[in-house]
C-alpha cells in the first residue's frame, strides 16, 4: 500500500511527483479509498463469462498516474464532482409541460437512485428492449415531465448520469446478461471482437490482448466502464461511455456508431458485464 499516503501530500508535491513518475507498464498496485472512508473494489476475479480469457478485471484507475489517481480519492480534488452538483441542480428543477422535477417523483437521489448505475444497461419490460440510464432519463423527461429530450451525450445528460453514478459508488457492477438481455449482450460481444476500420482493430486487440502495454504515449487499460462518466484531464470535461466508444472506434479509422445507437447500447451492456464485480466509481478521473 505504498501509495496510500499520497493523499496527505500537498498538491505541489503531488504535481512534482508527476514529473518524476516514469511510464510503467504494469497496472499500479494501489488501493482506492475515497474521502478516507470508502474503499472501492478496483481489481477482482473476472466474472464467469470471462474466465476462459482472463483471471482478473481491473479498473482503469490502476493504469493512471500517481496524481490522477490521487485526484479521484478525494471529492474536493475530483473535478467530476462539480458536475455532480450541476446534475443535482437539474434534479431539483421543474421542467416541461407537467411542471415537475425529477425530485418530485423520485425524492432524494441519494436514496432513490442508489444501485441504479450498478445494474444498467438492463432490459426494460416497458420499452421491450435493453435500455441505458440515459434512455431512462430521457423517457422520464419526455413522458413524465413533458420536457424536451436531452442530447444523448450532451452536457446536461452527462451531469445527470454523474449524479446517478455517484450515489452508487462502492456498489458492485452487476448487469444481467441472461434472460431477455441475452440477445443484446451477444450483439455487444460480437461488436467487441469485430475488427473495424482501416486499421482493423477490435476493442479486444487493445483492451484484452494488450492492457498494460503502451500504445505510443497511452498506457492501455482494460477499457472498463465502471468509472463512467469520466472526467478527463485531456479535454477537461466529463465524458460519457458512448462518447468514449465513439473515440475509440474513430481511432481505428472507422465510421463510428452514434451515441445512443442500438449498437452502442449493446456494446455498453457487454463492456459493463466485463466489469461485473468492480465497484461503481463514477465520476472518475482519467487522463
Amino acid at each position: 500500500m505504498k501509495n496510500r499516503s499520497l493523499k496527505v501530500i500537498g498538491g505541489v508535491a503531488a504535481s512534482l511527483m508527476l514529473v518524476v513518475t516514469s511510464l510503467s507498464a504494469e497496472p499500479v498496485d494501489d488501493t482506492l479509498t475515497v474521502n478516507e472512508e470508502m474503499t472501492l473494489v478496483t481489481r477482482t476475479a473476472a466474472p464467469a463469462h470471462l474466465s476462459d480469457i482472463m483471471d482478473e478485471v481491473i479498473s482503469g484507475w490502476h493504469f493512471r498516474g500517481t496524481e490522477t489517481r490521487a485526484m479521484q480519492a478525494d471529492d474536493f480534488d475530483n473535478p467530476g464532482m462539480i458536475f455532480v452538483e450541476a446534475g443535482e441542480d437539474s434534479w431539483n428543477t421543474a421542467e416541461g409541460s407537467e411542471g415537475k422535477s425529477c425530485a418530485d417523483c423520485h425524492g432524494d437521489a441519494a436514496d432513490s437512485m442508489k444501485g441504479v448505475r450498478a445494474t444498467y444497461p438492463k432490459f426494460s419490460e416497458a420499452a421491450g428492449k435493453v435500455i441505458t440510464v440515459e434512455n431512462q432519463v430521457n423517457d422520464c423527461r419526455e413522458n413524465r415531465m413533458g420536457a424536451e429530450k436531452w442530447k444523448y451525450a450532451g452536457g446536461d445528460m452527462v451531469n445527470m448520469t454523474a449524479l446517478i453514478a455517484s450515489v452508487s459508488r462502492g456498489m458492485p457492477v452487476n448487469v444481467a446478461i441472461d434472460g431477455p438481455a441475452k440477445e443484446t449482450w451477444e450483439l455487444g460481444k460480437e461488436l467487441y471482437y469485430t475488427r473495424t476500420g482501416q486499421l482493423e482493430l477490435s476493442c479486444a486487440n487493445c483492451h484484452e490482448d494488450n492492457y498494460g502495454n503502451m500504445i505510443r504515449a497511452d498506457h492501455l487499460s482494460q477499457g472498463q466502464i465502471n468509472g463512467f462518466p469520466v472526467y478527463r484531464l485531456k479535454n477537461t470535461k466529463l465524458n460519457s461511455v458512448h462518447a468514449r466508444f465513439k473515440g475509440c472506434v474513430r481511432d481505428t479509422r472507422a465510421e463510428t456508431y452514434s451515441p445512443g445507437s442500438p449498437e452502442f447500447v449493446a456494446l455498453e451492456l457487454y463492456v459493463a458485464s466485463r466489469g461485473n464485480g468492480l465497484s461503481v466509481e463514477g465520476p472518475s478521473v482519467r487522463n
Binding site: 511510464l23 473495424t196 482493430l201 494488450n210 474513430r250 481505428t252 463510428t256
Partner: protein
C-alpha cells in the same frame, strides 16, 4: 460515378506520364507467402523519408506499436509489437515489403494494420474523422512511401 471517373483520370495520367514508372495498385500486389519481391514503384526507396514515416504520427506511426532505438529522438514508443531493431537482419527486402503492405499475410491474425490495402474493411472511415470513407479513400501509405519505409527498415541492423 465520381470514383470511377477519378480512377480513369488517374489511369490516364499514369499512362501519359512518361517519366512516371508504373505503380502497382494495392489490389494488384503479388504476395508470395507474405513476401512481395517486386518494387511497388520501380523507384528506389529513400531511407531518410522512410525514417520520417516510421516515426511520424501523421504517416506510418509505426512507433505507436514498435520500439526503434534509432528513433529515440522521438518520445513514446509502443510495446505492442516486437522492436524493429535488427529488422534488416531478420527479413529480406521482399519480406519487409510484404509485412508493411499487408502484415496479415505474413503473420496470421496480427494486430498490425495493412498499410497498402484498400479492400475488405468493416466500416472503413474517412481517416480519423469517424465519418464513412468517401471517394478519397486510399491506402494508408502510398506505394512510394512503402518503398521508403522498406528502405529504412533494411538499414536497421544489429
Amino acid at each position: 460515378m465520381k470514383f470511377s471517373s477519378a480512377t480513369a483520370f488517374l489511369a490516364a495520367m499514369t499512362l501519359s506520364g512518361a517519366a512516371m514508372a508504373e505503380e502497382v495498385t494495392p489490389t494488384a500486389v503479388m504476395y508470395d507467402e507474405g513476401s512481395v519481391s517486386a518494387s511497388l514503384t520501380g523507384v528506389p526507396g529513400d531511407p531518410a523519408n522512410g525514417r520520417m514515416i516510421v516515426g511520424s504520427k501523421k504517416f506510418g506511426n509505426c512507433i505507436a506499436c514498435h520500439e526503434v532505438t534509432d528513433l529515440k529522438d522521438q518520445p513514446f514508443h509502443g510495446e505492442i509489437g516486437p522492436t524493429l531493431d535488427g529488422a534488416g537482419d531478420r527479413w529480406s527486402a521482399a519480406e519487409l515489403r510484404g509485412i508493411v503492405s499487408n502484415a496479415k499475410l505474413m503473420f496470421e491474425g496480427t494486430m498490425m494494420p495493412a498499410f497498402y490495402k484498400t479492400e475488405g474493411f468493416v466500416r472503413p472511415g474517412n481517416a480519423y474523422t469517424g465519418k464513412a470513407a468517401d471517394d478519397t479513400f486510399g491506402p494508408i501509405l502510398s506505394a512510394q512511401q512503402i518503398e521508403d519505409v522498406v528502405a529504412y527498415l533494411a538499414t536497421l541492423k544489429e
